[in-house]
Symmetry: C2
Subunit: 441 residues, 2 copies
């Protein structure tokens, strides 16, 4: 594990906690050169400075976090994330903080249980700092968060607050969730590492999935090794140790996707340059077209997500329809209520076949290199951007990681996305670390 200085946070001063990885922070605590309380105060200072512009948090539990930090100061550093502060998207339950699912309908609700991921982080010694802004029910209607690199630009969504908070050093780790592009896209727009595991690999208990067939819990951090650390805390100690992988001989398929013409010239050039750079490091490049897995995929995705979304939010349809946003009511919910059951089942069956086709296509490549988003974060806050470059991978249940490697002329982050076959999450993180080190500018 080498990278402790992320290339593209908000240009933090050298030595600032915002320039450190969680792994380095945990090491400092283990070495006795920092303490959980010191670390927390450093993060609270950044929040005090940046939050008035960024609006990453819907609930900040300063007092609770300080009490927990004091308890951790006094305890032996047993867990691998001892004293590390983290953020939690507001559609993920917490037993000691409100959870509002990004909607005024449920503002202030107090769940009985921590979501599985939150409790697992506490077990590993991490310190939950608060709840980050989610779009409404993790769909499209944006919250207050702004892109920390330019407040006139969207941070992406739906995990808006988590991406922005990690990007400007408010926390080194935050949880998000992805229905279509809700982890990878905001991570890319804000210039952090975002990871969406294979569907189902991170236990979803306590996450409000608006589309149960797609929704996947994800993690954002400033270094790939931090993602691996969280993954081990959420899964188990039997995982092979994180080990950056060599590039020589690795087979990488460059996937321009059926949506290539939606990408900006900047983003297209970045991907082509990244492929060339990886080839120079010994990667064996090929073109990857999904072997038929992408045929009709966008339609099937819309049918399944619409059908399930409308049936997840029956409570809100019944009790609080007028308090839902127009974009939700008249968009995906209305679409989902128009779908027929036969169409829904046909789409589910098509997706099963598409996953088998993609498995077959992955016999020819070890990883796929693609874009995480059509370009840098668009100007404006009304839209969280396009998920076109995320839709195939979420729909097909593969793991994906986005890596921040450059900035555009405006100073906004650009990145690449790496994808692996389902269940190859560990090897994906191992190669992603090396790819990031090789490509970042």
């Amino acid at each position: 594990m080498s990278s402790t200085t992320p290339a593209h946070a908000s240009a933090p001063a050298h030595g600032s906690v915002a320039a450190k990885s969680a792994s380095a922070m945990a090491q400092a605590i283990a070495d006795g050169t920092s303490t959980p309380s010191t670390l927390l105060e450093e993060h609270l200072a950044i929040i005090a400075q940046r939050e008035p512009q960024v609006h990453a948090w819907i609930h900040l539990d300063r007092d609770g976090a300080r009490a927990r930090a004091r308890a951790l100061d006094a305890a032996p550093a047993a867990g691998p994330l001892h004293g590390i502060p983290f953020g939690i998207k507001d559609n993920i339950d917490t037993c000691d903080m409100p959870t509002g699912y990004g909607s005024a309908i449920h503002a202030g609700f107090r769940p009985a249980r921590d979501a599985s991921c939150v409790a697992a982080m506490r077990l590993a010694g991490a310190n939950p700092l608060g709840k980050t802004v989610s779009t409404e029910f993790a769909h499209r209607a944006p919250g207050a968060t702004r892109n920390p690199h330019d407040p006139a630009h969207t941070p992406g969504g739906s995990s808006s607050g988590s991406a922005a908070a990690v990007a400007c050093g408010m926390v080194p780790i935050a949880f998000g969730s992805q229905t279509t592009g809700s982890v990878i896209r905001p991570a890319a727009y804000c210039g952090v590492v975002g990871f969406k595991p294979t569907y189902g690999q991170f236990n979803p208990s306590g996450m409000l999935a608006n589309t149960p067939s797609f929704d996947t819990l994800g993690v954002m951090a400033r270094a790939v090794e931090d993602i691996a650390l969280v993954r081990r805390a959420l899964l188990d100690g039997s995982l092979p140790a994180f080990a950056p992988a060599a590039l020589a001989g690795v087979r990488v398929g460059v996937c321009r996707t059926p949506f290539w013409d939606r990408a900006s010239a900047d983003a297209q050039a970045l991907l082509e340059d990244a492929a060339v750079a990886l080839a120079r490091s010994g990667v064996r490049l090929s073109d990857f077209d999904g072997g038929g897995a992408f045929d009709g995929l966008e339609h099937a995705n819309l049918v399944v997500s619409g059908y399930e979304f409308a049936r997840t939010l029956v409570h809100e349809r019944l009790y609080a329809y007028e308090r839902l946003s127009a974009v939700l009511r008249e968009g995906r919910m209305a679409d989902g209520l128009r779908e027929t059951h036969a169409g829904y089942v046909a789409a589910l069956q098509r997706l099963e076949r598409a996953r088998a086709l993609l498995d077959q296509a992955f016999t020819a490549v070890d990883f796929v290199l693609t874009l995480p988003a059509p370009g840098a974060a668009p100007e404006g806050l009304a839209s969280t951007g396009s998920a076109a470059f995320n839709m195939p991978w979420t729909t097909l249940h593969t793991p994906a990681v986005t890596l921040p490697i450059a900035r555009d002329a405006h100073g906004l982050p650009l990145g690449v996305q790496l994808v692996a076959q389902r269940y190859r999450d560990g090897p994906l993180l191992d190669i992603a670390h090396t790819v990031l080190a090789r490509l970042r500018r």
Copy 2:
């Protein structure tokens, strides 16, 4: 839709509401020969009489149900379940009643949202009467419920209260959930119709799934047409209308399963007799062995359910370990914490292949006939019985329905289970109605 008098409830007096289907009750309300309030009081009277022995309810909302019934009395009968009382397993969230997940740890918790199924029933005009007893987190440690046919016998679990409540006429419909055999087995032990749809078909939002890869929301009722009515309310009006199917020419595979030697002589004889009776009605019988889908299935089921169970209940491990039952802590949770990640992934991949094998096996038969349980409800309340005859179908995500067709010498219900290929839920209910009419004694 013909059957309105179930054969095997608790021998209710003719004309009693406990002898009626929900469909007949809805018709009576539509005809003006009953009202939601009248219907509710009839059910409350049965509860007053039977609950002291049966203990089906963890929370009964008499006042709320009466207020809702009065509102429904005054409203036009718009929904297909207008005024029909129903019960809700205690691991399914309700916004106006406590939800304790079968554990003292969470007793009295008030969720923010109705589970999707609860809100959908309200939208259809149904009247939630209360929360039914669940085993602890829908696992093994039993609640207070007793079998209404003999209080010294288990009602089965984990949906114990829902099965018992429907069996003795306290409600015509109740929701349960199935991780392994938690709907079909208690329904069979209590002598009601139990239905577990294809995995994922009923939106799981608001159900606490202890094993997300298997847990499926299910329904119990006293008539197959009532299940179809609920299914339409939960899915959509585009479903083909429920239409009892003819038996002649239907291909039925008799599946004795790898666990045939665990079945009682009574149950074995019942299944063989049922097959003969169906053949006399023109069914084309064959033996069904799953085409390899069952190989290693029990092991894979245990690995996946253990691994996920332990990771669902991290909150409880962290905050309330001592308040978990010994059977949970030292059984499935300990097993799950011992599993390796590699073993878990291998089991998930094996299940995917097994589902494809089962799809292939289903090209030779339209439905499978098997047992819902190894026999009648065992004596004793410490165990909820064996799920061996449910494990294959839940693990492989197929729809299943149990039909009460006889009683043993002791007066306890015995039944058969019908299974269909994934997504053939509608045809399964259509044939189940005819099979029940043909076989019940």
